[in-house]
Amino acid sequence: MKLSDTEWIVMNAVWEAGEAVSARDVLESVESDWAYTTVKTLLSRLAEKGILSEYKRANTNYYESLVTRDQARADALHLLVDKAFDGTFGSLLQHMVSREKLSKRDRQRLAEMMAELDAKKRNKK
């Protein structure tokens, strides 16, 4: 799943809202001088790609995300850390996270932690 820069801006606004949004909602939250029609077009395109679901309510189109931010981010960030910057051998970069080889057990543990945190977040809402 590949998103353009403008599509990312729209999707971020949808994810930040955490619920179904209209074109007007997105226009108000993004920091850009887009026109209303531009936002509407972007939302429709994302719906066609299967990233958003679209439905009508009281003569207004609402859009909801069908993918999580993490899922969308995975594709964008999988090349994030270039091997040249790998900190295992002398690099002076202080990475926040670096590419790491994980055992099956560690991957499971991390996935469990993510699921646990997501569940807590949903319960809070």
């Binding site: 995975a74 040249a84 996270v97 993510m114 945190l117």
Partner: protein, 469 residues
């Protein structure tokens, strides 16, 4: 030719000095790293990051402390570490004048180092010095290659970062960034660059660090996630981690051959991340748990499939996430005291692993004497026996001149009533020496060596030996 010899001598002495540091240090480092690693493993999640950082910093401290440093409370007093002493050329007799035909007391003579004998054939000690020179040169080349490689990679990284196109930060970030810097109590605001390049969120630079964010991360992250990332990087700058990383890197180059040093560096790097995570948690207060989710979410695309690792270790990410799950530690004062106490105890008991020199000399004297006795007896058998007397006279003169009230003074008596009396040079002499137990340290050592030489001289000269009164 003189310059060449001088250079060789300098190289030899430098290599010996280097070996005198590195050889015992290599053994002692194994002990220190082993103790720290054992404590780290045993404590596990119970260890707070500050304690872990302090423990591993002790390894760095050990690297700069002389291996001869000793402490009465050190564990070295309990365990016998391999001496790994550098064997320098032992005392050899002077062989200058072979015209002197004085008789020697059988077991009471002394000798001293000889330039003449060094020019003659020499046993074991010379080949050991050569090995030190080889080791020293290998070490030097290793340091050089590693330094060049790391410097080249640093320049390459710097060039790529400089040439990467800048992306303007979103307006909200420009307003929020100074607030985040204030949250981690930074006095000056470091530069922030958002670049369109494949690089992780990182701090780059030592003297004037810069925070680098990839445009892809800014694009795909929520505001809360970006703030967490920036807080983490700002915490690195607040803690001066780039400086500490440079220090540990320089030390790692100097000890490039020692796996314990690389283990310590890797572990310190992990612990630094834990400490920054802790700082972010403290800055976020009751919203701290959201940081844990940010960490996992940002790291998720970077989980590589499992593979063989030279140093199998637990996942740094798992460790960080589990530490974050514990939340902000309570009872900070007790943790500070615990850290200080633990570090102090280890600094006194584990870091100084040198042994008292006098004790080493006393315990190894017989081993050294055996080696030197054999070496010198072997040398003496090839040298002119009569010239031993010259060496003895010189030694006696030197010892006597140093302290006239010294009870260990040697008294030389030239016998005029001997049947061998003739010219002054031919009259036999005897040497009255004090009892062995009144002679200490190097004098005792020379005493034993000379006794061996005297036996050799006696066998070859077949002169009357004056018994010891």
């Amino acid at each position: 030719m003189n310059d060449h010899t001088a250079n060789l001598n300098w190289l030899q002495s430098t290599a010996e000095a280097w070996a005198g540091w590195m050889l015992p240090m290599s053994i002692q480092l194994l002990v220190v790293v082993g103790v720290v690693y054992a404590m780290d493993s045993l404590l596990g999640r119970r260890a707070w990051p500050k304690l872990l950082a302090a423990l591993w910093c002790l390894v760095l401290l050990k690297l700069v402390v002389p291996p001869s440093l000793s402490s009465p409370l050190s564990v070295a007093q309990l365990i016998e570490l391999p001496a790994m002493e550098v064997q320098t050329p032992v005392a050899t007799p002077l062989l200058a004048n072979s015209s002197n035909s004085e008789a020697l007391s059988q077991s009471h003579v002394l000798t001293e180092s000889s330039a003449a004998l060094r020019e003659s054939e020499r046993p074991g000690p010379q080949s050991e010095v050569s090995a030190y020179v080889v080791l020293f040169l290998v070490w030097l080349i290793g340091c050089g290659l590693l330094a060049v490689l790391i410097t080249w990679r640093g320049f390459r990284t710097s060039r790529r970062l400089r040439s990467a196109p800048n992306v303007a930060p979103p307006q909200w970030l420009q307003l929020r960034y100074p607030v985040l810097a204030a949250q981690v109590r930074l006095r000056s605001i470091p530069r922030l660059r958002i670049i369109d390049a494949a690089v992780g969120p990182a701090v780059f630079g030592v003297l004037r660090p810069v925070i680098v964010l990839p445009a892809a991360l800014v694009k795909t992250s929520s505001r809360e996630e970006l703030e967490h990332v920036l807080l983490h990087e700002l915490a690195h700058i607040k803690r001066r981690d780039p400086v500490w990383d440079l220090v540990s890197l320089v030390l790692s180059i100097a000890y490039w051959f020692h796996p314990g040093v690389w283990l310590a560096r890797r572990r310190l790097s992990s612990v630094r991340e834990l400490r920054c995570d802790e700082a972010v948690m403290a800055a976020l207060g009751d919203k701290a748990q959201a940081y844990r989710r940010t960490l996992l979410a940002i790291a998720q695309p970077l989980w590589a499939p499992s593979g063989l690792s030279f140093f199998p270790r637990r996942s740094q990410l798992v460790e960080r996430a589990e530490h974050l799950a514990c939340g902000t530690p309570p009872h900070a004062i007790w943790r500070k005291l615990g850290t200080a106490t633990t570090v102090l105890v280890l600094a006194i008991c584990v870091v100084p692993l040198g042994v008292d020199e006098r004790a080493v000399e006393a315990s190894s004297r017989m081993r050294t004497h055996t080696t030197s006795d054999e070496a010198l007896e072997s040398s003496a058998s090839r040298a002119a026996p009569a010239a031993l007397a010259e060496a003895i006279n010189s030694t006696i003169a030197a010892e006597n001149s140093s302290d006239k009230d010294n009870p260990a003074r040697i008294i030389k008596t030239q016998h005029t009533d001997s049947p061998l009396a003739g010219s002054a040079e031919a009259r036999p002499v005897s040497y009255e020496l004090p009892p062995l137990d009144e002679m200490q340290g190097c004098m005792q050592r020379r005493y034993v060596v000379m006794a061996a030489l005297a036996r050799q001289a006696q066998a070859s000269q077949s002169k009357t030996i004056q018994p010891n009164p």
